[in-house]
Symmetry: C2
Subunit: 175 residues, 2 copies
């Protein structure tokens, strides 16, 4: 499909705080053709990487994570905020503007040596993507690539992942 | 597929609080065949209802919501916790054991007269499903059915939705 996916993203100024331009993906999700196009383009990137799992993190990484895993014929590994997963977990912390937060993954979800594609809606500074990579590596599995809907290219988050294939459907070049 | 999906659900006693048996769906999600089977069975139920949208709510309703929408060739409408959606929203409150919570939906996501399938991972008392139904009806759209992974049948949540098709992949008959 040759849809211009950028036409389905709404810029919302000053959300969630003054000076931030929020990239709202809900119009893309709500349009059947745009949704299908986004999933297919991410799958085209990911398929040659032969992942065993897609990892999506709470909450927005869940939205296309399940669809992408299904499209690729792999399993979905979900990383959640602390305290949400009921069994034994591993954990990775990441920095916020003020303080830290963390993601958890059930310790038995991804086996040693598995190939994992990381998906999230947005690549900004790359801090949460790094936390997901850490989770995968803690269990001795391999990150084979990272797939995003939107990349805030001016934040250079991609530079953290020089050694990995990274694909974003839309690049935002500046504010 | 003839998989026994119940084999992919883990009972976790006393989570999140004593006396509660948590139904952990993460093993189902992580298994490629079980994931595909769950999505296909929900889609088989939903396809004849001809939805224009699948509605999934934060956070666990997002996990299969996107995949189901894609499978059915419809759009995905996401309902979120208060304050998360950046543009003008509508809102529906629901009761918790102590107090209330609410879900919000962008006011322009679902058009009047649209056909909406509601999806969530779990049907318990049906309070949050009722809140999603209220959101759909606030914009003058129609709920055509409800699709869940697990139903806690002993809580009789289904009785609220007598007039609607309801499908759950797994029924838990008692504690």
């Amino acid at each position: 499909m040759t849809l211009d996916l950028a036409a389905y993203i709404r810029d919302v100024p000053d959300f969630p705080s003054p000076g931030i331009v929020f990239k709202d993906i809900t119009p893309l999700l709500a349009d059947r053709d745009a949704l299908a196009c986004a999933i297919e383009r991410l799958a085209e990137f990911a398929r040659p990487l032969r992942p065993d799992f897609v990892m999506g993190a709470e909450a927005r990484g869940f939205i296309l994570g399940g669809a992408l895993a299904h499209k690729l014929g792999c399993g979905l590994a979900i990383a959640r905020k602390p305290g949400k997963l009921p069994r034994a977990t591993i954990r990775s912390e990441y920095a916020l503007e003020y303080g830290t937060d963390a993601l958890e993954l059930h310790a038995d979800t991804i086996g040693e040596g598995a190939r994992v594609l990381i998906h999230d809606d947005l690549l900004a500074t790359g801090g949460t993507a790094q936390a997901k990579i850490d989770l995968v590596r803690q269990v001795g599995a391999d990150v084979v690539g990272l797939a995003f809907i939107i990349e805030l290219a001016f934040l250079n988050g991609r530079e953290r992942f020089d050694d990995l294939p990274v694909r974003s459907l839309l690049h935002v070049e500046g504010e």
